[in-house]
């Protein structure tokens, strides 16, 4: 059917490419940083910010990389978990990335882990808070620079008790991150004698909240604790205000409720109490510097996702620096990463044995369209890392 000559040509050509690609000298090669982030769709904004932060950090740290250049490979995950293993495999085997950064979405994280656990690369999660990543599925080569979903929500239980709330309604989307957040809040809140009068799980990604809010109004609890993020958070906060609950029933949340959404939420967000490992208004020099530099470079305000990306970059740079630029020994690289103390805009943090940040959690309130820090809700909080055998 086809001419045998053509076939022979094709064979020769592909063999030639193959031998070429393997003969490049290893030491001249740039450090390859693969990114598996959503650049389109609902999570697109988060992916953008993470990438910006990461690149900014590595740019700033260029002098500490011992002459090694950075090569970025960016792939849009579209937040589709079923594509995750394939993209991860592409970055691992095809691009031979030294670091794979991602993802934002917990389902995608699970798919990536399946391929990357125990492989010859380092996976750093800059956002997805799914418990298993640094819990039962933890692995020597998997790190997280963000948080476990337990971390930001657990301290809020104590805060609620201190405020004297006894009966609380909790609410989130019905998915892993949401449920883990509610559970963490419930854990500390009920341990201190509080009562969860109702737990509402909204099908993801539904944003018709009116029916649920009407129900909450009829229960009239002491406070409401929620986990929502992105567009859903905007809609929820606006609905909460529009239906008159704001000012009558205090709204508490995992910090993502008011991250990257304040502008869209406008007045409605004023006064919401949240706990998170960061706040825009954190009063330290690094943060001020970071924020102005980010604003200058990208023309918009930074947010938590940018910080997480930034810290990921810092962490990579620090390890490369420690090893004098040679990251070919994976064990040494992992050791270096583990021992890093990241000097982050959120305050210094270290890594737990499960490779999750040990960090301060701040209590914040929204004032004049900004998250103002009220106090440190929990200093140097480590995730319990249930089920991790590291």
């Amino acid at each position: 059917m086809f001419k045998s000559k053509t076939l022979r040509h094709a064979v020769v050509a592909s063999l030639a490419t193959l031998s070429l690609s393997s003969s490049v000298m290893a030491s001249d090669e740039p450090i390859k940083v693969g990114m598996m982030l959503p650049f389109s769709g609902v999570y697109g904004a988060l992916g953008d910010a993470t990438r910006n932060g990461l690149k900014m950090a590595l740019q700033e740290q260029a002098s500490n990389l011992h002459g090694r250049k950075i090569e970025y490979i960016e792939i849009d995950t579209e937040a589709r978990p079923e594509r995750a293993p394939e993209i991860a495999s592409s970055l691992l085997n095809n691009s031979e990335a030294d670091f794979i950064i991602g993802p934002v979405h917990s389902g995608v994280a699970m798919g990536m882990l399946k391929v990357l656990r125990g492989q010859d690369t380092v996976m750093i999660v800059p956002n997805a808070g799914a418990g298993p990543v640094t819990g039962p599925l933890c692995s020597p080569n998997v790190f997280r620079t963000s948080f476990s979903s337990w971390q930001p929500s657990y301290p809020m239980g104590h805060v609620a008790l201190e405020k004297g709330y006894k009966k609380v309604v909790t609410m989130s989307w019905n998915y892993g991150m949401g449920k883990e957040s509610l559970d963490a809040f419930e854990e500390s809140f009920t341990a201190g004698g509080g009562e969860i009068v109702k737990k509402i799980l909204v099908p993801f990604p539904k944003t018709e909240f009116q029916a649920y809010l009407s129900e909450i109004a009829s229960i009239n609890p002491d406070a409401v604790f929620v986990f929502f993020a992105g567009g859903g958070a905007v809609k929820f906060v606006k609905d909460y205000d529009a239906l008159g609950l704001k000012g009558k029933i205090p709204l508490l949340g995992s910090g993502f409720l008011t991250e990257g959404t304040l502008e869209a939420q406008g007045e409605s967000a004023e006064g919401i109490l949240t706990t998170l490992h960061y706040a825009d208004s954190l009063d330290n020099e690094l943060n001020t510097q970071f924020r102005s530099a980010y604003k200058q470079q990208f023309g918009k305000a930074s947010d938590i996702y940018a910080v997480q990306g930034y810290d990921t970059g810092l962490m990579i740079a620090s390890a490369v620096n420690q090893l004098g630029g040679d990251i070919s020994n994976q064990n040494a690289l992992i050791k270096a990463l583990e021992s890093t103390t990241v000097r982050s805009p959120r305050g210094d943090f270290t890594f737990s044995t499960a490779h999750n940040p040990v960090q301060n959690i701040y209590l914040r309130t929204v004032e004049n369209g900004e998250n103002k820090v009220v106090e440190i809700a929990a200093p140097a909080l480590a995730d319990p890392a249930r089920g991790c055998k590291l």
Binding site: I75, E82, A84, P85, S89, M110, K179
Partner: protein
């Protein structure tokens, strides 16, 4: 009979030998192997949809339900830490999927056209939320399969599923067998009636055929094969996720099938490879890949009347 056999033969003789030889050139790069494998698995899925939509005229937007079901079924019925026999479980999964298809087909095939599209979507969405809302099935984050099956028949084992190249050949074999199976099916007496029903249901009823039965049978066959594709997908990475059942999965399969040339069966392979190839190339080229992807899809609809397969046939006709 819309599609002539010559183009099909040429395609088979070009595609399969190339696919057979590919691992020899690319064994070094595990990614190309696994990418090819996953495209072939999806092509198998698209093929089963193509038969249903293109040959039987039954348009469904719920086919992904069976794709996902294939994965979840394996998780449900196979022991977690024990290697089971691949062939035995293929049989189980196809049988259970068939039983499910029999029940759902019995309900949905009472409607037709756009209403059938929507009622199949309705069932698929129910299945989607069933899996994505329940903690037992891993919810939105999905599930892991820890142990891959072994493939021995009478003590002889040809494929080691942990080896990507072996798995590649298993999928290639599956794809080839499915293509051959559909060719036989289309040429069979059963296929004759199915063609007749597709072209003219009224006439076929008047000749004494119970067309519902034939449609149901076709639906069951396509669904079982769809589930088989989902089972293969799950085995490739050991990962099941509710997004396998999402309507967008059905949607993209439909797009690939239309792109390839509806009802041509081999066009499903063409459509899947072209679509996935474009997607892969564009997303590595530009962040705004969607813009180009969309524009290309629009352009292809305008140019190709019967998909790529149809276009190829026209070219061939002109030359001869």
């Amino acid at each position: 009979m819309l599609f002539n056999k010559r183009t099909e033969r040429i395609f088979i003789w070009v595609f399969f030998p190339l696919a057979l030889l590919m691992p020899l050139f690319l064994a070094e790069n595990a990614f190309y192997i696994s990418k090819m494998t996953s495209v072939m698995i999806f092509a198998l899925f698209v093929m089963s949809l193509d038969y249903l939509v293109g040959r039987c005229g039954l348009i469904t937007l719920g086919h992904a339900m069976f794709y996902g079901l294939g994965g979840y079924l394996f998780w449900m019925i196979a022991p977690e830490y024990e290697a089971v026999n691949f062939w035995v479980y293929t049989f189980y999964i196809c049988m259970i999927a068939s039983a499910v298809a029999l029940v759902i087909g019995f309900l949905v095939l009472r409607t037709s056209g756009i209403y059938m599209i929507m009622i199949t979507l309705a069932f698929a969405q129910m299945a989607f939320y069933f899996f994505s809302d329940s903690i037992e099935f891993g919810g939105n984050d999905g599930l892991f399969i820890y142990v891959k099956p072994e493939t021995s028949i009478f003590g002889l084992s040809f494929f080691n599923l942990d080896d990507p190249v072996h798995f590649y050949y298993l999928c290639l074999l599956s794809l080839f067998n499915t293509l051959v199976f559909f060719r036989l099916l289309i040429r069979s007496r059963f296929g004759r009636v199915v063609d007749a029903i597709h072209e003219n249901p009224g006439r076929t009823t008047a000749l004494g055929y119970n067309i519902f039965l034939f449609r149901l049978m076709s639906y069951v066959i396509a669904s079982a094969l769809g589930a088989y594709a989902g089972y293969l997908f799950t085995l490739q990475y050991g990962f099941v996720n509710p997004s396998m059942l999402a309507w967008t999965t059905s949607g993209s399969a439909l797009v690939m099938s239309i792109l390839g040339g509806m009802g041509s069966i081999y066009g499903a392979i063409l459509g899947t490879f072209v679509y996935e190839g474009l997607h892969y190339t564009l997303e590595h080229l530009t962040e705004h890949w969607m813009l180009f992807m969309g524009a290309l899809i629009i352009a292809m609809v305008m140019v190709f009347k019967n998909g790529i397969a149809g276009y190829m046939e026209k070219l061939l006709e002109k030359r001869s």
